[in-house]
Assembly symmetry: C2
Homo-oligomer: 340 residues x 2
DNA sequence: CCGACCTGCTGAACCGGATAAGTAAAATTG
DNA sequence: CAATTTTACTTATCCGGTTCAGCAGGTCGG
């Protein structure tokens, strides 16, 4: 099946290529009668303009790029990304934009992808997720003048527009809540330490603990996988002064942690209170349901996509703060049983 | 920052555009010295060929398309897709191919996306997931001669190449195992009924149950979400003759079902045995760990991607059967406690 | 009744590569 | 050493759109 071109339409309508182009793009330069005739023919033969030909004449690619640097293994069970992507997609598909997704292995490949996308004009702009400390992507996209929106911040983003939520507020609220319940030994199972938001959460955690007289404020780093979440929990619960509450940096690790607690014969929340950062529906479905820091991740993705499209359109976009995660108390948190 | 073109390179090297093109593409027609000079300049100024210009001259888009028709809500916590995508990506990025992802709302939009991708030459081929009964995408991509590989089958795929696993074998094995443990009332919490693999699993389930004398073989349909999995479980466990074992069509629902059983005070596996189809790491991390039908989904995606790339390259590809899911018995299945 | 202006179109240039055809010089052959 | 082939290029064309300049023919004002 040969793809129809405007030349085919022009031939059938008995006009020039130029006239067809004007007609299809709603430009003036053709009479209403001719326009309708041309549109009818286009419809009939199922015409779609060749995106490359358009792009060659300076049209945008109508595509945005998202490069993720996480091992496949982790991506599979991290609901965060898929939720983010579906939010991004919802916004994009409503505006006829496409998403180019690339999963990369390391920082070099990540930068390479951005350079290539720019050079090949494959994307009009990019979303930058998983902002790291001294993130090399920031200077690269800045230099290239590739429109970009960082999902994260507000620090470490250079002059790039960004959308962020205030994890410090969320974590402080959580520590205050746990302290109010009577917890004095609180641990934190953190994600990758070179991510900005891990640092933000860490300092908020430490600050709040110090302020509230939480003595043992342990932090263990992980790669967000359930396995490491389980291992970290086992280590914490096997220590001399085991914590009475643990805050996990994602829901997958929290669920794994719950499994470990049950396996070790501890009651939740009696012996151990559990809080998850991010709240996929699994948190509500396990037993006991997990107290979690809820945020609307698809909405977050949609917001980022909107900002990026605005930036691509040349509108001024700056820093946008999404609503911070809210603590949703459920059955996994309670007063610690007096002991020690 | 202006994007460099071959004309820029040609000017700096003092040769024609044609010579540059030959040099960059490793074609004969330039001396080794000139080639090296040109390549050095290209490297220095960070040249990347404009993908649109290439595509216009008949080059492939080096992109494959994947349109998913699932509500954002479901995609978020279905590890299956993200695992599949990361497997696809692993294969693609190793070969310099990109992935175009689109999430669509309904069947019309789905077909529209394929038509548009084809018309706009945005993709060289597509993967078709979630094969439905009388799937309208099959005739469309066949008519368009758009290279496609169906992830599913082997029935209902028309003449399209496809990769599939034999879910019937996996489900039969599971029912046999449960029957051998002594279960006589087995229920199944199924996924979307218009998906082909749901039908395949259903008839395998019914066949095996009939053959093995499993009397009550109830099936409840869901949308794969944890919520519906939990509701279905509640209904099943509240019925007059409650099942002693439930097979879930995905792991998310199985975990939700485990939560419901615990909430209702039933012991697992004493009062209720649970089997999950698909085995994300959560199955191993909840307590008790879930018996699951394991398959390597990233490998499945990679296989599909390889087949699609072969089809695009014009190689003959037909039907490929991936290894069926294997039953991994864990702590959630056991002999039923005698009762009734 | 003539020039100015608008309408509705055509023709051609252009975007940035790939590539076929042409050409001059160098290398090989008989 | 002339004839032929090969090498190393250049020039021109093409892909399928967009867009600008041009150009008839009609309308209007003075």
């Amino acid at each position: 099946m040969k793809r129809p071109t405007i030349a085919d339409i022009a031939a059938r309508a008995g006009v020039s290529k130029g006239a067809v182009s004007y007609a299809l793009n709603g430009q003036r330069g053709v009479s209403e009668t001719t326009r309708r005739r041309i549109l009818a023919i286009a419809e009939e033969i199922g015409f779609n303009p060749h995106s490359a030909a358009r792009a060659l004449s300076g049209a945008p690619a109508d595509t945005i790029g998202l490069a993720l640097r996480r091992p496949a293994r982790v991506l599979g069970f991290e609901p965060f990304y898929m939720e983010l992507i579906s939010g991004v997609e919802a916004e994009l598909s409503a505006r006829g934009q496409a998403l180019m997704l690339q999963i990369v292995a390391d920082a070099d490949a990540e930068i390479d992808v951005h350079r290539r996308w720019w050079g090949e004009r494959r994307v009009d702009g990019v979303l930058i997720c998983d902002l790291r400390v001294d993130d090399p992507r920031i200077p690269v996209v800045t230099d290239l003048r590739l429109p970009a929106v960082v999902v994260g911040g507000p620090e470490g983003v250079g002059d790039l527009p960004h959308v962020w939520n205030n994890d410090a507020v969320a974590l402080t609220e959580t520590v205050e809540y746990l302290a109010a319940l009577g917890h004095r030994r609180i641990a934190r199972v953190a994600g990758l330490p070179d991510l900005w938001h891990t640092q933000v959460r860490a300092s908020a955690f430490e600050g709040a603990c110090a302020r509230l007289g939480v003595s043992a404020a342990l932090t263990v780093s992980t790669d967000y996988s359930g396995e490491e979440g389980a291992r970290a929990t086992r280590r914490l619960l096997s220590g001399e002064t085991r914590p009475t509450a643990v805050i996990y940096d994602n829901d997958v690790m929290a669920i794994a942690g719950l499994g470990v607690a049950q396996e070790m014969g501890l009651t939740v929340p009696g012996d151990l209170s559990i809080v998850a950062f991010d709240d996929s529906s699994l948190c509500r479905l396990v037993h006991p349901a997990l107290t979690a820091l809820t945020r609307d991740i698809p909405a977050y993705g949609a917001l980022a996509a909107r900002q990026l499209l605005a930036a691509i359109a040349g509108q001024p976009v700056g820093s946008v703060e999404d609503t911070p995660a809210k603590l949703a108390p459920r059955a996994s948190t309670g007063r610690p049983i007096a002991s020690t």
